[in-house]
Symmetry: C2
Subunit: 665 residues, 2 copies
C-alpha cells in the first residue's frame, strides 16, 4: 500500500492519535483487523481480481469477468481452506456484486431459517459445496414492498402429491432476484399457497430452475436478465432476473415447512415453531446492511478526504502555494459530518450485532418480549443509515469537484452500486412508517403500565421529557453527552407525542395515520437518530486504549450529534427542546470541532485500513499521487485507441467540408 511517494506524509505526521489502535477500534477487534487486512491484501495482490477498466466493459464482458472472479475466489477459498469468516471477507474485498451474494446471503439462510431439519439435511450440503446455486425469488414485476400481494401461485395437487407453481399474470413475473437471470440452478420461490380450496397466503418453495446437466431452463420455466441498471460496472455484474412459471410441478416436500406444512392429504397445518423466527432473519439481514452502510460511507469519505488534502484552489497571493481544499470551512462542514457519520454507523452496526444475538437467545427461550422493539429498531436504522450513506456518497463526489465525475474517481460506481440499498430489504419510507407505528403503540401502551424496552425506554420518561428544557449556556456545554442526549430524547419524545395527539382527532385511526404520515416519518427519523447518537455515546463510555483514540472519537461523536441538531433545527426549536441561543452555540461549537478534526482527518480515514484496490479511486490513493495517475488513466479509454476517432470519415469530415448534402448518414 505504501510506496516511495507519499504526498500526504505531512498530513499523516500531524495526526494526534495512534492510527494503528484506531484501526482496531474500526475493525471491531485486533483479530478482526488481522483477518480483514490479510484478506484485503490477498485480493489486492492477485491480478485476477484487478478492477481495471471495469467501467469500460460492455455488459457481456463485465458479466463474464464476474463469473471468472467468482469461480476463482471460490477456488482460492477451497485451496487456502479459509474459514467461513475469512471466505466472507475475501468475497467482500473482491468488491463486485455477484450471484454468490444471494446464494450465501439469502438462499442458504432461508433454508436454514425456514426449512425443516430434513430439508436442511438434504439441501444445505449441496449449497455449501455450491453443487447447486440458489437465489431468492420474492419480488414480482407488480409487487415489491407488499409481499402479501404477490401473485405467483403454488396450488397443491393431491393426486400427484405435488405443488403446481404458476405465474397467472404478467405482473406476477418474478422480477429483480439477483443471480436468477443467468446463473442460479435453484431458487426459493415465494408463492400463494392454495390447497384444500383456500388461499393460505405467501409461502416459500425450493424450485429447481435450470438443468444441472446443460444449464438450460427446465420445462415450463422462462427466465432471463432484466437489463442494464444504474451506472458503469456497479450492479451490472449481477444477473438480476425475470422468471415466469407455466404450471411447473415440484414435490410437496419442497415447500419450506418449518413453520407450516401441507399434509399428504392437502391439509394446511401450523407447526408449534413460533412464526416470529422470521423476524430473527430480518434483524440479521438488516444488521449487515447497517454495517455495510458504514463501509460504503467510509470509502467515499476516505476518497474525498485524501483528495481534499491534495487538491489546492484559490487563496494564494500571486504565485504562492494555494490553499488545500480541506482547509475551507464549507468543505469541512460537509466532509467532517460525513466522516463522523461513518464512525457513528460503524458503532451502531456493531451494537446491532449484539442485538441480533440477544434476540436469538431470547427467541430460543420463547421470550418474544423485545422482538417488536428490536424489529422496529433494525428497520429504522436500516432506513436511516442507508439514506444518509447514499446521499453522503454523492456529497463526497461533489466535494471532489469536477474530477469526482470521472469513473476513475471511483465515486460514480460507489454511488450507483450503493443506492439500491435504499429500496431493497424494505423501502426506506415504508420502514420508517413501521417504526412510527411501533412508537405510537409504545406511547399508547404507557397508560396500561407496559414499560418500553431497549431503544424505546426513554419513552417511559415521556412526562419528564415533555417538560424538558436544555440547560446549555455556553458552547462547551454541548460537549456534555447528557446535554446532547437530553435534547435528542426530548425532540423525539415530543414529536411522537404530538403525532399521537394529532392522530387522536381522527375518527378513523388508519385514515389519520395515512394523513399524518409525513409527520410520522419525521418522528421515526428523530427516534432513529437518537439511537445512533446514544450508541456512539455508549461506545465512548467503554475503555478505549491507544494514545488520543478516545479523544478523536469524542470529537466525532459531538460532530455527528451537533450537525444533526443543526440540520433538523426546526424540530428541536419547534418542540422547545432547545432555544435559538442554544442553537447558535451549537453552531459555534461545531466550527471549533471541525478545527480539531482537521489535523487528524487524513489519519482518521487511514484508520479504515482500505487498500488502494478496494478503494478503486485515483483521487483516494494512499500516496496522494493524484494528477499523474489521472493523466495516465485517461489514455486507457477506448476512444484513445486511435488519434482520429471512428466516425470521422463518415460524419465529421463531410460536415467540415460542407459535403453533408450528399452524405449518406
Amino acid at each position: 500500500m505504501e510506496g516511495v511517494v507519499d504526498h500526504l506524509a505531512f498530513e499523516r505526521n500531524k495526526a494526534q492519535f495512534d492510527v494503528e489502535e484506531m484501526k482496531i477500534v474500526w475493525a471491531g477487534s485486533r483479530q478482526a483487523l488481522e483477518i480483514s487486512d490479510k484478506m484485503a491484501r490477498l485480493v489486492a495482490s492477485d491480478p485476477v481480481f484487478k478492477k481495471d477498466n471495469r467501467a469500460m466493459l460492455d455488459r457481456k464482458e463485465l458479466f463474464k469477468n464476474t463469473l471468472r472472479k467468482t469461480a476463482y475466489a471460490w477456488k482460492r477459498i477451497i485451496e487456502l481452506r479459509l474459514s467461513e469468516q475469512e471466505a466472507a471477507m475475501l468475497r467482500f474485498f473482491v468488491d463486485q456484486p455477484a450471484f454468490t451474494d444471494l446464494h450465501w446471503g439469502m438462499f442458504v439462510p432461508a433454508i436454514k431459517g425456514q426449512g425443516t431439519e430434513e430439508q436442511q439435511q438434504k439441501w444445505l450440503p449441496l449449497a455449501y459445496k455450491m453443487q447447486i446455486i440458489g437465489c431468492y425469488a420474492q419480488t414480482e414485476l407488480g409487487h415489491g414492498s407488499n409481499v402479501q400481494g404477490l401473485e405467483t401461485t403454488a396450488r397443491f395437487d393431491p393426486k400427484t402429491d405435488e405443488f403446481v407453481i404458476h405465474s397467472p399474470t404478467l405482473t406476477s413475473s418474478k422480477w429483480w432476484p439477483g443471480g436468477l437471470g443467468k446463473v442460479s440452478t435453484h431458487g426459493i420461490v415465494y408463492a400463494r399457497l392454495i390447497t384444500d380450496g383456500r388461499d393460505y397466503g405467501v409461502h416459500g418453495f425450493i424450485v429447481q430452475l435450470r438443468s444441472l446437466d446443460d444449464h438450460l431452463p427446465l420445462p415450463g420455466i422462462t427466465v432471463g436478465d432484466i437489463g442494464m441498471k444504474f451506472g458503469n460496472g456497479a450492479y451490472n455484474s449481477m444477473d438480476n432476473g425475470v422468471l415466469r412459471f407455466d404450471h411447473v410441478r415440484i414435490p410437496r416436500n419442497q415447500m419450506l415447512m418449518r413453520v407450516s406444512q401441507v399434509t399428504r392429504e392437502g391439509k394446511y397445518v401450523q407447526s408449534n415453531v413460533p412464526r416470529q423466527l422470521v423476524y430473527g432473519t430480518m434483524v440479521f439481514v438488516r444488521q449487515t446492511i447497517v454495517s455495510d452502510a458504514s463501509t460504503a460511507m467510509s470509502r467515499a469519505v476516505c476518497i474525498a478526504t485524501r483528495y481534499s488534502a491534495v487538491r489546492r484552489q484559490f487563496g494564494s497571493n500571486n504565485g504562492g502555494i494555494e490553499t488545500q481544499v480541506i482547509d475551507y470551512k464549507t468543505q469541512q462542514a460537509r466532509l467532517f459530518s460525513l466522516l463522523a457519520s461513518a464512525y457513528a454507523f460503524r458503532f451502531v452496526g456493531e451494537w446491532l450485532k449484539w442485538l441480533y444475538m440477544d434476540v436469538m437467545k431470547r427467541l430460543q427461550a420463547n421470550d418474544f418480549s423485545t422482538l417488536p422493539e428490536a424489529h422496529a429498531c433494525t428497520a429504522g436504522l436500516k432506513s436511516l443509515t442507508t439514506s444518509a450513506t447514499a446521499d453522503g456518497i454523492e456529497e463526497c463526489r461533489k466535494l471532489c469537484g469536477g474530477h469526482g465525475y470521472l469513473c476513475s474517481s471511483g465515486l460514480p460506481e460507489l454511488f450507483a452500486v450503493y443506492v439500491p440499498t435504499c429500496t431493497y430489504e424494505g423501502d426506506n419510507t415504508v420502514l420508517l412508517l413501521q417504526v412510527a407505528r411501533h412508537l405510537l403503540k409504545t406511547i399508547s401502551q404507557l397508560g396500561s403500565g407496559k414499560k418500553p424496552v431497549g431503544t424505546t425506554s426513554y419513552i417511559g420518561r415521556v412526562e419528564q421529557l415533555m417538560r424538558y428544557r436544555s440547560n446549555v449556556q455556553k458552547g462547551e456545554d454541548w460537549l456534555n453527552p447528557n446535554a446532547v442526549l437530553g435534547a435528542f430524547e426530548a425532540r423525539a419524545a415530543k414529536k411522537v407525542v404530538l403525532c399521537a395527539q394529532n392522530l387522536s382527532r381522527f375518527t378513523n385511526p388508519e385514515e389519520g395515520f395515512q394523513e399524518l404520515s409525513v409527520d410520522l416519518v419525521e418522528a421515526a427519523v428523530a427516534h432513529c437518530q437518537l439511537i445512533v447518537v446514544s450508541k456512539f455515546i455508549e461506545k465512548l463510555q467503554q475503555d478505549i486504549p491507544g494514545k488520543g483514540v478516545k479523544q478523536q472519537l469524542e470529537v466525532l461523536c459531538s460532530i455527528y450529534a451537533l450537525s444533526l441538531l443543526c440540520k433538523h433545527l426546526g424540530e428541536f426549536l419547534s418542540t422547545g427542546s432547545i432555544n435559538p441561543k442554544q442553537a447558535s452555540l451549537a453552531n459555534d461549537q461545531l466550527r471549533s470541532l471541525y478545527s480539531q478534526v482537521r489535523p487528524n482527518a487524513v489519519a482518521l480515514v487511514d484508520a479504515f485500513n482500505y487498500t488502494d484496490h478496494f478503494l478503486g479511486s485515483v483521487l483516494g490513493r494512499y500516496d496522494g499521487d493524484v494528477y499523474p495517475k489521472l493523466y495516465e488513466e485517461a489514455w486507457k479509454d477506448p476512444l484513445n485507441d486511435s488519434v482520429v476517432p471512428d466516425g470521422y470519415q463518415e460524419y465529421v469530415r463531410p460536415m467540415l467540408k460542407q459535403q453533408l448534402r450528399n452524405a449518406r448518414l
Copy 2:
C-alpha cells in the same frame, strides 16, 4: 404520442384545468410551444434519432453514434432551412451531449463577446457553417474554480509576431473541455499572457488544434479523451478532452482582443471597451442553466408522477385493487414539492431572460449600476436550481422504487447527465459565497445611503424586517402571498444581518469570512429562495388565461414556498420570522394543498408536452402501459442473446461439478 391504450385516461379526466393553455404557460408563449412541439415531433419520428439501447453501447459505439446523430441533425437543419431558434430546439430534443453544445454554446459566443470586429468577421462565418468546430479550453487538471490560477502560458515573441502557447507542468494540461478530446479543430484556449517581461494574467486565444485535412493534431499538440464519466450513456457521448502544448506558435491576431490587446511591439494595452461585458456572457450562460434546470426537473417529475399513478401497492382488503402509490401522503409530499419546483424554476428562468436583456441594454448605455446585483442573482440562482434539480432527479428515481434503478426508467441517465451542472460554470458552493459577499456589501453600503436594487431591494427595508413578526393565525393565511413574502424576506434579511454582526467581531474580515462561510452559504440560500418565491408570485400577478390554469399555479406556488419553509424551519424559527404555531399551520396547509394537486397531477406533467422519445422512460410513458414494456425491454439486454451465458462452461460448470481444482481460470 397518444396511442390506443391510455391507462392514465381516468387521471386525465380528473383534471380541473385546461391542459392546452397550461402548455402555453410552460412553453412561454403560443409560438414557443408550436416551435418546440414541431421540433420534438420531428426528432421523435426520425429513426436516426432513436435512443434505443443507448445504455448498452460501449464507449466507441456510443461516440460514433453521437457523431452520426450530430451530423444528421446538422444536415436536417440545413435541408429544412431551420431558423436559429428552431435549430437550437432540434438539437435540444436530440438530447445527447455532443461537441456541438460547446461549439454553439461557448466557442461562438466567446468570439462574439471577446473578439474584435475583425476577428468576428474572420472566424464567425467559418464557425456558423461548421467549417471549423470549436471548443472552450479553460479548465486544467490542477485548476477549475480558480481561473486566475491557470498555468498554461502564452508568451509573446516579438521576433515573429507570434504567441507561444505552452503547458509548463502536468497540472497545466487542459482538462475537461467538451468536444476537445476527439472532434474540435479549434479551441478558445485560456492562458497567462506574458509579454514585455510581465505576466498579465489569463486571456483567451484562438488556437487551431487539428489539421483540417486529416484531422491529426498539429505539431506540438497532444490531445485525447479524459475517459469514462458517471453513468450509462449520459455524458459519455461527449469527448471531454485533455490537451498539452509544447511551444505551439499562433499569430498575434489570434488573441481575443476586444477588451485588451498586445501591440506589434509587445505592449499590453487596454481598450476602452468595458471589462464588465464579460459578466454579460456569464449572466447569459447561467440563465440558460436555470432554464435547463426546470427542464431536467420537470422530466424527472413527469416520469415519477405518471408511474406513481400507474403503480399500486398495499391498501387492498384481500383481492381488491391496491392503492395508487400517488395517493400516499409521503409520496405526495416528496413528489409535489418537486413538481412545484419545476414550475418555480421555469418562471424564474423566464424572468432571468428578461434580466439578461435588461443588463445588456444597460451595458450598451454604459450603465453598470445593476450589474453586480444581476451577477450575484444569476450566480445564486444557478447554484440553487441546479443543486435542487440534481437532488430532485434522484428523489424521483427513489419515488419509482426498484424499477427506477433500471436504465429503462430513464432516470439513472437523467441523473448522471445532469449532476455535472452543479460543478461546471461555477461550483455551487463557490457561487453561493459570491452571493454572500454581495449581500454583505449591500448591507454595509446601506449606511452610506446606497439603495439596494433589484432582487436585493428588500434589504433597503432591513430595519423594518428585523422587527418582522408573521401575523399568520390560521392555515389559510399562508395562502396569502404577502404572508409568504414577509416570512422569506425577514428570514433572509435577518440571516444576512446576523452574519454581518458576527463578522464584525473579527479583526481580519477575510479570516472572518472564511470562518463563517457555512453561515454565509445559508444566508445566500435564503436570499435565493426568496428570489424564486417572489418571481413565482409576480408571475401570478399577471393575467393568465385558460380555465383553472392560474388556480393550479397558485396552489403550486404555495406548495413551493411552504415546503421550503418546512424544510428550513430552523432558520425561520431561530430568526423569529415565524413562531412554532405558525410553522404547524404551514405544515397542515401543505397537506391540504397536496390534496388539491392530487387530481391534477398527471395533467400538470402532461403540460410539459414531452414526447415519449424525449422522456426516454418506460415508467414515464404517456399511455402508462408500463409493465408490458418493461418486460419487453428486459429481453433486449445483450446478456439475453443466449440462454446459457458466456462463461458458463469455463467458470460456472466447473464450480457446480466440483472441478474447480483443475480448472484454468
